[in-house]
């Protein structure tokens, strides 16, 4: 079961003198939900960007299914089956929700010149896209323009897009923030189901109730360095984590 899907070794990203991510080793096992925690500015988003090819690491390597992917551009990483969401949501604003998902369905075609010329709004594609939208509970918004949706819906739209692309691994960057309780529960169920489908999940989340309940394992970053990893309960009691991240009252309000 400890089959390693993604392996980061000595991964670093420096901005000038600032070490946003510093010598991080991390393994993601196939089929787990791994939580990435850490204080604000710890380097979590930067770490995501390193894995997903937005940034090229200053040093270190990333292997995905045994294949080295660090330094590959985003679209190549995506083509390996890694889907992601953005902390600051990035919908294709003037397209409809359905079209947003359809765009992602093209993942298998964008790489080959010959397959680019078929029609993209075919019945079968639309049906498949609608299924995804139903899964994230947005089917009734399919025809709405994405740019005009409130934040909570955009978070789910991003997840839908990531789901289409990420048949191996999906990266969720604070996808629960801005959702109310009920919606959070729905999403939690969804993510468990995704995991049960065999897709691995790496998520960043400040909502402790979500991370504690959902994650199989947690890694904590601080100042770009990994300071702890382990089972949720262990993390919650780790002094370093409490000091840097949870606070003395254990994130009472954040629960």
């Amino acid at each position: 079961m400890t089959d390693t899907l993604l392996q980061a070794r000595g991964l670093s990203k420096h901005f000038g003198g600032l070490k946003a991510v510093d010598q991080v080793d991390l393994d993601i096992h196939t089929g787990e939900i791994l939580g990435l925690l850490g204080p604000n500015g710890a380097g979590k988003t930067v770490f995501f960007n390193l894995i997903s090819g937005v940034y090229r690491p200053t040093s270190g390597t990333v292997h995905f299914q045994g294949k080295r992917i660090d330094g590959l551009p985003s679209h190549r990483v995506a083509a390996c089956g890694v889907g992601r969401t953005f902390q600051i949501v990035k919908p294709f604003a003037s397209l409809t929700v359905l079209e947003n998902v359809l765009v992602a369905r093209g993942i298998t075609r964008y790489g080959t010149f010959r397959r680019l010329w078929g029609p993209w709004q075919s019945k079968s594609e639309t049906r498949a896209a609608m299924k995804i939208l139903e899964r994230v509970g947005m089917a009734e918004l399919a025809e709405r323009k994405a740019g005009l949706l409130p934040l909570g819906n955009l978070r789910r739209l991003e997840i839908a897009r990531a789901l289409v692309v990420g048949h191996q691994l999906i990266l969720l960057d604070e996808s629960f923030s801005g959702l109310r309780h009920e919606e959070i529960s729905q999403l939690e169920t969804l993510i468990r189901r995704i995991r049960d489908d065999g897709i691995t999940v790496l998520l960043i989340e400040h909502n402790m109730r979500v991370t504690m309940g959902l994650c199989d394992r947690i890694v904590v970053l601080d100042h770009g360095r990994k300071i702890a990893q382990g089972k949720p309960q262990d993390i919650q009691e780790n002094d370093l984590v409490i000091e840097a991240y949870l606070g003395s009252r254990g994130g009472r309000h954040a629960a």
Partner: protein, 294 residues
């Protein structure tokens, strides 16, 4: 039909072909290009040189011209991969000025004298002039519109739309920004090259000033007025901006002022174009928002 009307019509159709190319670059892929006249000019000069100096016929030269335009489009489109949107806008203006300067100052391109004596187009041994040439241009326009229509319905097209909206999100679903920006540039500049070739063989005399920056702005105004990114907007814009100045002929002294003032008013009150979202035309026709286009 009146030769004068055919002249105006032919020029409008040639512009429309070129403007469809610009629509692919700006409207579909969201890459601002303010130097489209340069590619129009490259097509014109290439065809003129190939037919006058290399002795090819129009039809032999055409594939070479189109390929060459696309190729140069790729090379000059490279900055768009590196530069932020607003820098790109001005860089493309720069490309326009530089290309024009090359035409003007390189003796091989005829320098300030331009290139004259460009042969007419023959088809099946028949000399195409007047109406016949107009029809030829019209068929090319139909072809170009068909290609654009096909493109918007293809995966290649939707990849460009996505890039236009959010580059990093597009990359996260597997769309290579480099590949698709260049794809749009190639398609767009090839269409401009085609337009340029037709222009050269229609005017039969070209000089650098025909391809200067104001021409690029005219092209851009045509799409913006027609409706950026729409299928029929470029045609509407080309017809409108092609005909208006002619309608104003009688008011000789005030003609250009009327024209520019009208352009200003249209931009100010229909900034999304006549076929764009929320336009009066759309309200009249109660058109549904076009899928995938703004």
């Amino acid at each position: 039909m009146d030769a004068y009307l055919i002249t105006i019509g032919t020029l409008i159709v040639i512009y429309a072909i070129t403007v469809y190319g610009l629509n692919v670059i700006v409207g579909y892929a969201g890459q601002i290009s303010l130097g489209h006249a340069a590619f129009f000019g490259i097509g014109a000069y290439a065809s003129a040189l190939l037919t006058t100096k290399a002795g090819l016929s129009f039809w032999e030269a055409l594939p070479i011209v189109i390929l060459l335009s696309g190729l140069i489009g790729i090379v000059l489109g490279l900055p768009s991969l590196r530069l932020r949107e607003d820098f790109l806008a001005i860089t493309t203006i720069g490309i326009n000025f530089i290309v024009e300067a090359l035409f003007l100052y390189v003796p091989y391109f005829g320098g300030a004298l331009g290139i004259g004596g460009i042969p007419r187009v023959f088809l099946f041994g028949i000399k195409l002039k007047g109406m016949a040439f107009f029809l030829l241009c019209l068929s090319f326009l139909a072809l170009v519109i068909f290609i654009c229509w096909w493109f918007t319905r293809s995966w290649g097209g939707v990849a460009c739309f996505a890039l236009r909206e959010e580059e990093s999100a597009a990359a996260s679903v597997g769309i290579s920004p480099v590949r698709f920006k260049l794809l749009a540039f190639v398609i767009g500049t090839m269409m401009a090259g085609l337009g340029g070739a037709l222009y050269a063989h229609y005017m039969r005399f070209i000089s650098a000033t025909d391809f200067s920056f104001p021409m690029s702005i005219t092209f851009l105004s045509m799409i913006v007025l027609g409706g950026m990114g729409t299928l029929w907007g470029p045609l509407l814009g080309a017809v409108l901006l092609g005909i208006l100045p002619e309608l104003f002929r009688p008011i000789v002294d005030y003609r250009i002022l009327f024209y520019t003032a009208l352009l200003l008013v249209m931009i100010r009150f229909q900034p999304a174009g006549l076929l764009g979202e929320g336009s009066i035309v759309r309200k009249w026709l109660i058109l549904k928002p076009a899928g995938g286009r703004p």
